[in-house]
């Protein structure tokens, strides 16, 4: 098959792969796709475009900051180590970006069985292999090309052609190793997330992997702001240990490339030059092997698929019956731990910490104390995220429509189960806020009680948001909502969560303004929380319909 013809066909297969990956991330589209296929199609296109733009922006930003810090930030140490560490940090971060931002695409490529149809057509084995490789290349085209161009071009401008050449080899090696790791992890995750092994350890691995992946995906967006700090930390560490530290570091990936580049750009000891040359040669060799193995591995998985079959010893058939509410929660948790997109809900407290930590540090007063207003603001952020959590959990219900339709499940039961699940990330968010406040010198320990008293508000937020969504989208009946395709509901949920959750905080603030007494303020917060729980308990079910 001609290259151009294969490239064109690979575009069709890659589009299908993106489509499948999108459905995997947004399960509710499975049901909605028949209702409004054009809308979903547009959504997938814009989602791919946004993903490309985000990857490009992140890679560009990291490259620019790394190069600028290496070349011009004298506060980070001598120019040699600065360049070596800046180089290495960029390579490490580009590895993370390529790895995490493309994990779902790769999982989709493997799980979708996109090569099944071409395999039935009159194509030779070589053609099929070429097609699967090009499909993969098209999915990764933008990040790979960007990674191979931005940093080497920047290095060429600032440090000259030799450093630029090393940068090119280093970037190519990093991409190759990242893609090798990506294929391996995707295969493993697909196998784990499609395995029906019920053991606790397997469930733990699944949850940990889902959370790790989601947190990784969220974290890359904040990487660039931590970059100068990371360079400073490593250069300081190295200067404490002296020349030996550089020699040891230059043997470790990705520092080898950085120290080799630094040895060429600036005068360095011969031992560092030697060790970095050895390291560079070794890791480049690994990258070549990874490239070859990735190609082979990719061809195998896209054509033959990943075997998720296992030897199942037949267990006794028995039904483990529980209460309807517990059954709903148990089912949702099982579904959540088998889907990367769904696991996002449980990563919300960590996302909140990543977002709030630098903000809270900047909100201390002149004396270095953290005041109650900061805690109130942090809790209000958690209320907003609580609203988004609930609407995200409603995405689970887009599966299993055939089962749901025949079961006596009332809208109230659905809402109660979703609210119960939302309480988990909400409580964890409050604990996380307390921990952040605790390590940031609160003006009085009583401030720590604000998030604790707010905990029942998870129920208020869940019920109020759910009731509103059911009323607006289902006329009171329990409905599934996909935040990705119904962003209006995402905004409404965040707004309702923020509005109902702020009432006790306003109560606290008002009493504090009038009395200046922490105890009275906390008491008023507790009373408002109690009143809201009662109101929600009594009135929200009245909005619902079966």
């Amino acid at each position: 098959m001609k290259f151009s013809e294969c490239w064109k066909l690979a575009g069709v297969v890659a589009r299908e792969s993106r489509f499948q990956a999108f459905l995997e991330m947004n399960p509710s589209n499975l049901a909605r796709i028949k209702e409004n296929p054009e809308k979903i199609s547009r959504s997938i296109k814009s989602s791919s475009r946004i993903s490309y733009i985000m990857t490009s922006m992140i890679l560009s930003m990291i490259a620019i900051i790394a190069l600028a810090a290496s070349a011009f930030d004298v506060s980070l140490g001598n120019p040699g180590p600065r360049l070596a560490v800046g180089f290495a940090v960029y390579l490490a971060l580009s590895f993370v970006v390529v790895f995490f931002l493309n994990l779902t695409s790769t999982t989709g490529l493997i799980s979708s069985g996109v090569m099944s149809l071409p395999a039935t057509l009159p194509l030779s084995k070589a053609d099929l292999e070429q097609l699967s490789f090009m499909t993969f290349a098209r999915v990764f085209f933008a990040p790979v090309i960007l990674s191979l161009t931005i940093f080497p071009i920047g290095s060429l401008i600032i440090f000259g052609p030799l450093v630029s050449l090393i940068a090119l080899v280093a970037c190519a090696s990093t991409v190759s190793i990242a893609i090798g790791a990506l294929i391996g992890i995707s295969k493993w995750f697909h196998k784990k997330s499609h395995s029906s092994d019920e053991s606790r350890s397997s469930a733990f691995v699944r949850i940990a992997a889902s959370l790790g992946i989601v947190i990784g995906m969220i974290s890359v967006y904040g990487l660039s702001s931590y970059l100068p700090g990371m360079i400073l930390f490593i250069t300081q560490l190295s200067s404490v240990w002296g020349e030996t530290a550089f020699s040891i570091l230059s043997l470790i990936f990705p520092f080898s490339y950085g120290f080799l580049a630094a040895s060429i750009a600036f005068p360095t000891s011969s031992s560092v030059l030697l060790t970095s040359t050895i390291g560079t040669g070794f890791y480049t060799l690994i990258a070549i092997v990874a490239y070859r193995r990735s190609g082979k591995s990719l061809r195998e998985v896209t054509i033959s698929g990943v075997s998720t079959s296992q030897i199942i010893s037949e267990r006794e058939i028995a039904i483990d019956s529980t209460t309807p509410l517990r059954a709903m929660i148990r089912k949702d948790l099982k579904l959540a731990t088998r889907n990367i997109g769904s696991a996002f809900v449980f990563a919300i407290p960590i996302f909140l910490v990543i977002m709030l930590f630098p903000m809270i540090q900047n909100w201390k007063d002149d004396a270095g104390f953290l005041r109650s207003i900061t805690t109130l603001a942090a809790v209000e952020y958690a209320n907003l995220f609580g609203g988004i959590s609930l609407v995200s959990i409603l995405m689970f219900d887009t599966q299993g429509a055939s089962i749901h339709e025949g079961l006596p499940i009332s809208s109230r039961l659905v809402l109660q189960s979703k609210t119960s699940i939302v309480l988990v990330p909400y409580v964890l968010s409050m604990v996380a806020i307390d921990l952040i406040v605790l390590i940031n010198n609160p003006i009085t320990p009583l401030i720590l009680l604000i998030p604790i008293i707010q905990i029942p508000c998870g129920y208020i937020v869940g019920m109020a948001v759910g009731g509103t969504v059911f009323r607006m989208r289902g006329g009171g009946r329990a409905v599934a909502v996909n935040v990705a395709s119904d962003q209006a509901m995402g905004l409404v949920s965040a707004a309702v969560g923020a509005i109902v959750g702020i009432a006790p905080l306003v109560g606290y603030g008002a009493v504090m303004l009038f009395t200046g007494m922490q105890i009275a303020s906390l008491l008023s917060q507790a009373i408002i929380v109690a009143i809201l729980v009662a109101v929600v308990w009594k009135y929200v079910p009245k909005l619902l319909k079966d």
Partner: protein, 259 residues
């Protein structure tokens, strides 16, 4: 009391009249076949009986309970197998049946006994702990059937229940339907397979473009169509005025295949 009673049921989607003034009864202990061409309004009717769609006018009741006013109570009494199979792909049948039994608040021992019996009868035991996504179409259908039968419902509503089943399982399923009716249970069955309806149903109702155009036993339909000894298939084509269309379609295909 009727198991299902429809009175002047009407449902429209925009300009399309999906169900028009439909009235019928499914008696207790009876197997009733709902027949009709594609898009006739069978599934819409069943969805209104289950309380999944609100009728524009008219009434649907199940054992006297209004499907619109109290759909949860209706679902408590009914075992329902919809035509489309949207299961929880990432659960196993074991996990799914645990969920169904819990929602229906069935005692574990009773539910286990029934699950065990159905799994054995339908040769399903070896699939009990596999993820549903990995099951074949037929085994997914068996999963749905077991889930619908787990609570020993008084009324079974089956929308195309035999699609994808192998010969053995289809035979067992038909026997399950018969035994269910013999024990006093009722069945409302929607199917395209005329042989199944002819062999299984006590009475059939034929709907076309939302209207009930004929109802009765096979003999009653034969006498109405003036076709003694006719099969249900030929009666169906005659009553729905599709005989000529079918002949025309076949001749077009014959020409196309001969080229």
């Amino acid at each position: 009391m009727s198991a299902v009673k429809l009175e002047h049921l009407v449902k429209t989607f925009g300009d399309l009249i999906a169900v028009s003034e439909l009235s019928l009864d499914v008696r207790e202990g009876e197997i009733y076949g709902l027949l009709g061409p594609n898009g006739a309004g069978k599934s819409t009717t069943i969805k209104m009986i289950m309380g999944l769609l609100d009728p524009d006018s008219g009434l649907a009741t199940v054992f006297g309970i209004d499907s619109t006013d109290n759909p949860v109570e209706v679902k408590r009494m009914v075992g329902y197998v919809p035509e489309e199979q949207q299961l929880y792909d990432s659960l196993t049948p074991r996990e799914l049946f645990d969920f169904v039994a819990s929602i229906r608040q069935l005692p574990s021992d009773k539910a286990s006994k029934r699950a065990k019996e159905f799994a054995k009868a339908l040769d399903f035991s070896q699939h009990y702990d596999k993820m549903i996504v990995t099951l074949s179409q037929g085994n997914k259908q068996k999963t749905m059937l077991i889930a619908a039968l787990l609570h020993a419902p008084k009324l079974l509503i089956l929308d195309e229940p035999f699609s994808g089943l192998d010969v053995r399982s289809a035979k067992i399923m038909k026997d399950i339907v018969r035994i269910h009716a013999e024990n006093g249970g009722s069945v409302l069955l929607s199917t395209h397979v005329m042989e199944v309806a002819q062999g299984l149903c006590d009475r059939v109702g034929i709907i076309d473009e939302g209207l009930l155009i004929a109802e009765g036993t096979l003999d009653e339909l034969r006498s109405r169509a003036h076709k003694d000894g006719a099969t249900l298939e030929s009666l169906f084509l005659k009553l729905t005025e599709q005989e000529e269309e079918v002949e025309e379609g076949v001749s077009v295909i014959r020409e196309a295949l001969a080229e």
